[in-house]
């Protein structure tokens, strides 16, 4: 099977053929996937060299002339290094574009911390109006990329990963998908964390929601799910005595900085008694190399660690 990045190059290349408004901007990384597209559309496949501030500034300039730019490089260099450009050259100019990242939090553990950006989604949370997609499979990545390219002048971040679930889900951009239902709490699995979450909660009486869009956060589905799971939080004690308003327990499992979406869950359930546990990549540097699976285990995100942490919280 192809990777999400390979699917990105193939999909974006086809979109360039169909939509003259689109342009792809690169900073060396990923250029091999666009060799044919660059030949077909020399003015709309732009490689600025190893210049990430320029990468984002050029995207803003393209948007100012009415085009829809698609920018791609590793998350560390797309969101973190040129963050002020993301803030000013899109948001403050009043224009939008599509940022497509790779490497994310742990795609290249042997490469170390310089190529990890677990804080990218939290950083974008400091800005207004960004849609954030986190596909869990190359097929989902294609769906979300097509949706992002067609999203008018919206600002959209698509976070691609080498980490993938074994099978695609029938996702709808922006909507949570109910994968299984239970009465003992709600576990929200984001993108590539789904397979590990499903293994971790085997035999537990919990609802699992799956999402590949975290911003905007699908509050409606979470609220409906929390309302439906009437026996939620059995034994937690929180909310006891509040009559019909039983407490809701929510666990978030995100492939980036732990707690990134905790505030979104709190906002969604602000009028209800609830507890929330945000799992993801801790702030401290792990300072380990190895493989993705080894790195995830080191971060406490492998199925065994997840089971222990989820069942400990819901007990």
């Amino acid at each position: 099977m192809d990777t999400m990045r390979e699917r990105f190059a193939a999909t974006a290349s086809r979109l360039l053929d169909d939509d003259p408004r689109l342009a792809v901007v690169l900073a060396e990384i990923g250029k091999d996937g666009f060799t044919d597209a660059a030949r077909a559309h020399p003015d709309r496949v732009i490689n600025v060299g190893i210049r990430e501030q320029l990468l984002v500034g050029v995207g803003g300039g393209l948007a100012l002339t009415g085009m829809r730019p698609i920018l791609h490089t590793f998350a560390s260099f797309l969101v973190e290094r040129p963050f002020e450009q993301v803030k000013l050259d899109f948001g403050h100019q009043g224009v939008g574009g599509v940022l497509v990242s790779a490497a994310g939090s742990y795609d290249w553990p042997a490469g170390g911390h310089t190529h990890m950006a677990p804080g990218d989604v939290a950083l974008l949370d400091t800005l207004d109006g960004w849609t954030v997609h986190v596909p869990g499979h190359p097929d989902e990545a294609e769906t979300l990329l097509r949706d992002a390219a067609a999203a008018g002048d919206d600002s959209v971040y698509v976070r691609l990963s080498a980490h993938s679930n074994s099978a695609p889900r029938d996702i709808v951009p922006g909507r949570f998908l109910t994968v299984r239902e239970g009465r003992g709490g709600v576990v929200i699995a984001v993108g590539p964390m789904l397979d590990s979450v499903l293994t971790a909660v085997e035999g537990l009486d919990v609802t699992v929601l799956y999402t590949t869009t975290v911003r905007p956060f699908d509050e409606r589905t979470l609220r409906a799910t929390a309302g439906a799971g009437s026996g939620a939080g059995a034994g937690s004690g929180a909310g006891a005595g509040s009559g019909a308003g039983a407490a809701v327990d929510v666990v978030l499992v995100e492939p980036y900085l732990a707690g990134t979406s905790t505030a979104a869950v709190n906002d969604a359930l602000a009028d209800r008694p609830h507890r929330v546990l945000g799992l993801g990549i801790p702030r401290r540097e792990l300072r380990r190399y190895g493989t993705i699976d080894e790195h995830l285990a080191g971060q406490g995100l492998d199925p065994a660690s997840l089971r222990e942490r989820v069942s400990g919280f819901l007990r």
Binding site: P20, A23, D43, R44, I46, V48, G49, R51, Q53, L54, V56, G57, V58, G59, G60, G61, L62, A63, L64, T65, G66, M67, P69, E84, Q85, L88, D89, H92, Q93, G94
Partner: protein, 233 residues
């Protein structure tokens, strides 16, 4: 569409009065007016843009990257009819669209929002690429930067790239009031020349010299005009 001259009652001699509406001061220090002649000559004689064509796809673009001290810019926009003179006295007030750094969403005729240094030139590169990709070979893209602003690394990324790919419709005017702390070896123009740009260095108060430098042919290369003015005090 065509760009016809829009007759305005305001000329160069009106600019001091227009600026005084913002500052309450008839006389301005060199720093406040460092861009005045540079911007005036562009809007008066070079740019193909007018108040009735602020959204025309084939208009020329002027990007004020040096967003600090925009009074001269606002005065020129008012003189040319992009914004009403009545807005000028509100400069910096809560209800006014005219801030101490310009916001393109608020100011009629402003192509970019600026203030942070080092954003205009990369945005100008993207604008030139975007116009070319849409087959709009006519419009020129102009960006005004300060000499100290050139210290920002983002500008060096833009200068190097634009020169390497020969971005002919891109133009930079550097207002040099000697405000950079560490002088650039060989001068400002040498930096652009080394990256493959066409350059000219002129007296930033001499309107005819500015006009000739602005309109000098530069086939296959981006063009930089270094406009020297009095040193910042």
């Amino acid at each position: 569409m065509t760009f016809t001259d829009v007759h305005t009652a305001q000329g160069y001699d009106d600019l001091p009065r227009l600026m005084s509406l913002m500052t309450g001061d008839e006389k301005h220090g060199p720093a406040a007016t460092s861009t005045l002649d540079v911007v005036w000559v562009l809007y008066d004689r070079v740019l193909r843009v007018s108040p009735v064509a602020v959204d025309a796809p084939d208009r020329d673009r002027f990007l004020l990257s040096k967003g600090h001290g925009p009074m001269a810019y606002y005065a020129v926009l008012a003189a040319k009819g992009f914004l009403p003179e009545s807005l000028l006295p509100g400069f910096g007030a809560y209800e006014s669209p005219l801030g101490h750094h310009p916001d393109r969403v608020l100011v009629p005729g402003a192509e970019i929002s600026s203030g942070s240094l080092g954003h205009g030139l990369p945005l100008a590169v993207g604008s030139a690429l975007g116009l070319r990709a849409q087959g709009l070979s006519g419009p020129a893209v102009w960006v005004l930067v300060g000499d100290a602003e050139l210290d920002e690394g983002s500008n060096h990324e833009a200068i190097a790239y634009a020169g390497a790919v020969g971005l002919e419709r891109l133009h930079t005017v550097v207002v040099d009031n000697a405000s950079a702390t560490h002088r650039r070896p060989g001068g400002i123009a040498a930096r652009f020349e080394a990256a493959g740009w066409s350059t000219a260095t002129v007296d930033g108060r001499d309107h005819q010299a500015l006009y000739e430098a602005y309109t000098a042919p530069h086939p296959g290369r981006p063009h930089a005009v270094v406009a020297r003015v009095e040193a910042k005090v």
